[in-house]
C-alpha cells in the first residue's frame, strides 16, 4: 500500500489565542485521530511544526538568499504533516476527511509518496 503525506495548511500569522481548555481539547482531537490511524495500522509518521513561518531559500543570480518564510504571495503555511498508508488517492482523501484540521479552519494537501 502506498504512503500519502497530508500537509496541514493553516492561515499564515500567529495562531488565534485560545483558552487552555480549548487548546487541550484541540490537541486531544489531533492525538485521537492519530491514535485511530495507529489502531488501523495506517500511521507512519506525523509532526506539528513550530508556530513560526520558517525560512525560505532562493537562488538568485548565482547566490542563495535566505528570507523569513513563507513566500510573500502565500497566505497559508504548513503547520504540520502526517504520513499514512492508503490504497489510492480516493481512500487517502476519505481518511483525511476525518482529520480535525478542517474543524479548526485549515486545509489539507494530500500527496502520494513515490515509493522506490
Amino acid at each position: 500500500m502506498p504512503d500519502f503525506i497530508l500537509f496541514l495548511h493553516r492561515q499564515a500569522g500567529p495562531p488565534p489565542a485560545l483558552a487552555p481548555e480549548q487548546i487541550m481539547a484541540m490537541i486531544k482531537d489531533y492525538s485521537g485521530w492519530a491514535d485511530r490511524m495507529r489502531k488501523e495500522g495506517r500511521f507512519k509518521a506525523g509532526d506539528k511544526l513550530t508556530n513560526d513561518a520558517g525560512r525560505v531559500m532562493r537562488a538568485k543570480s548565482g547566490r542563495i538568499s535566505v528570507t523569513d518564510g513563507p513566500y510573500a504571495e502565500s497566505k497559508e503555511l504548513v503547520g504540520g504533516y502526517y504520513i499514512i498508508s492508503a490504497k489510492d488517492y480516493d481512500e487517502a482523501c476519505r481518511i483525511a476527511e476525518s482529520n480535525p484540521h478542517f474543524k479548526y479552519g485549515g486545509n489539507i494537501e494530500v500527496r502520494q509518496v513515490d515509493a522506490v
Partner: protein, 412 residues
C-alpha cells in the same frame, strides 16, 4: 486465574517499559517534569491493571501503555495549567507523540545524565537511576539499599525537587560538560553492579537484575560516540567479564562458588569476547584509570584456561598499579592474595602481615580467610585454625559462614 495472569503481565511490563516511557515523556516534557511523568506512567499502569483482566490484554501492550501514559500526562498538564500558564508547546509535542518514537537509546542516555546530575548526592543518583531509568519500585530499591520504602521515597522526592530547580536541558552533553558529568554515570553503574554482585542476604531476587541493568547501561554508554570514553569502555569491559561468570558463581543450592572452583565451561564466552573488545577500545584512551586496571585484572581471570593457569604475575602487577591509582585496604588485600599465587604462599603471607598493621581489615572476613588459607598451605595448622576462627567472628553471610566452617574443619 485470568486476573492473576494480567496482574503478573502488568508487573513484568512495568519493569521492562517504565524506564523507556520515562525517557520518552521526559524528552517531550522536560526534566523539570520528572514527577509529573512518573505519576502519568503510574496512572497508565493503574488503568491497565483495572481494565486488562476484564477487557483482555491489547495486541501491542507496550504501545497501548505509551498512548495511555501520554494521555494521562496530557491530563496532568491540563491540571498544571490551573496554577500557571499552559505550556502550550509541551502540550502539542505530547499530543503529536506516539509509540513510534518510544525506546530511543539516546533518550535513555539523556535521562541518565539527568538522574546522575552532580548536584545530587551519590545515593540520590543511584536511587533515581534505579527508579526512573531502570523502572525499579520504591520497595525494590529499599531492599537493595537495606533501607525502608518510606526513607527511599523521601530521598527520591528530594532528588526530583533538586532536578526541577536545576531546569536541565534533556540532552547528552558535549565537550567539557560531558567530561564533567560522565564520571557520576560511571560511578552509578559501577555501584549498581557491585551492589548486585556482592549482595548479602535478603536480596537474592534483586541482585541479578541489578547486574543485568548495570550491564545494559554500561554497554549503552560505551557504544555512544561521545559518552564512550576510555573509562566508559573499561567499565563496560569490567562488567562484561564479571557478568560472564554469573552463572557459575552460584550452585544449584544457592551456594557461592569461588573462582578457583568454578566450572569455566559455564562462563559466557560471547560476553567475554565482548568484554575484550571493549577493553581494546579502552586502551586507546589517553588516561589510564582505576577502571582500566580493574578491567585488566578481570580479563586475566576471564581468559585463563584454569585457576592454576592464570597469569598471577600479571594479576599481581595490575594490583600494584591499582594500589597507586585507588589506594584502599581491600585492594592491598587482593594484591597480597595475587602475590601468594604468583610467588608462593610465604611471599603472600608476608604482604598480608605487613597490612595487618593498618588494622582496617581486622573486621573483614576475607582478610582472615586469606591468611588462614596461606597458613594452612604452609602447614601452619594451628595458626590457620585461629585465622579461620577470626574470620567467622566477622560479619559474614550464610554461604560464607558454611565455607569458613568447612575450612576450619579441614585444618587438622
Amino acid at each position: 486465574m485470568m486476573v492473576d495472569a494480567a496482574d503478573e503481565l502488568v508487573e513484568t511490563l512495568f519493569r521492562r517499559e517504565a524506564g523507556k516511557l520515562s525517557a520518552w515523556l521526559v524528552r517531550l516534557l522536560g526534566a523539570a517534569r520528572l514527577e509529573l511523568v512518573e505519576d502519568a506512567i503510574q496512572d497508565a499502569f493503574g488503568v491497565a491493571l483495572a481494565r486488562w483482566p476484564s477487557d483482555g490484554v491489547p495486541d501491542r501492550p507496550a504501545a497501548w501503555l505509551a498512548v495511555a501514559a501520554r494521555n494521562k500526562a496530557l491530563d496532568r498538564l491540563k491540571r498544571e495549567a490551573r496554577s500557571m500558564p499552559l505550556d502550550e508547546s509541551a502540550a502539542w509535542r505530547l499530543g503529536f507523540a506516539g509509540p513510534e518514537s518510544l525506546g530511543r537509546l539516546d533518550d535513555t542516555l539523556a535521562l541518565m545524565f539527568v538522574a546522575c546530575h552532580p548536584a545530587l548526592e551519590r545515593d540520590e543518583q543511584t536511587m533515581l537511576t534505579l527508579k526512573t531509568v531502570c523502572g525499579f519500585g520504591v520497595k525494590e530499591i529499599a531492599r537493595a539499599y537495606l533501607s525502608t520504602p518510606d526513607a527511599v521515597a523521601q530521598r527520591l522526592v528530594r532528588a526530583k525537587r533538586k532536578i526541577r530547580d536545576l531546569n536541565l536541558a534533556f540532552e547528552i552533553p558535549e565537550g567539557a560538560e560531558m567530561t564533567r558529568r560522565l564520571p557520576a554515570l560511571l560511578d552509578t553503574i559501577y555501584l549498581l553492579f557491585t551492589g548486585g554482585y556482592t549482595a548479602g542476604e535478603g536480596e537474592p531476587l534483586i541482585a541479578p537484575e541489578l547486574c543485568a541493568e548495570a550491564l545494559r547501561l554500561a554497554l549503552l554508554l560505551a557504544e555512544h560516540p561521545r559518552a564512550g570514553t576510555g573509562a566508559a569502555q573499561a567499565l563496560a569491559a569490567l562488567i562484561c567479564f564479571q557478568h560472564a561468570r554469573a552463572g557459575a558463581r552460584v550452585s544449584g543450592e544457592g551456594e557461592l562458588i569461588l573462582l578457583a572452583d568454578q566450572d569455566r565451561t559455564r562462563w559466557d564466552g560471547a560476553l567475554i569476547a565482548r568484554g575484550l573488545d571493549h577493553l581494546q577500545k579502552a586502551m586507546t584512551a589517553d588516561a589510564l584509570t582505576a577502571m582500566h586496571v580493574e578491567a585488566g585484572i578481570a580479563s586475566l581471570h576471564a581468559t585463563a584456561a584454569s585457576f592454576e593457569a592464570t597469569d598471577w604475575r600479571a594479576v599481581a602487577h595490575y594490583y600494584a598499579m591499582l594500589e597507586e591509582l585507588k589506594p584502599s585496604a581491600v585492594v592491598q588485600l587482593n594484591g597480597a592474595i595475587a602475590t601468594a599465587f604468583a610467588e608462593g604462599p610465604a611471599a603472600g603471607l608476608a604482604r598480608l602481615d605487613r597490612l595487618d598493621g593498618a588494622g582496617k581489615l581486622d573486621r573483614y572476613a576475607l582478610y582472615h580467610a586469606a591468611r588462614g588459607d596461606l597458613l594452612s598451605r604452609l602447614g601452619r595448622c594451628s595458626e590457620a585454625r585461629d585465622a579461620f576462627g577470626r574470620a567467622l567472628d566477622c560479619p559474614v553471610n550464610n554461604a560464607e559462614r558454611e565455607f569458613l566452617a568447612r575450612r576450619l574443619q579441614a585444618c587438622r
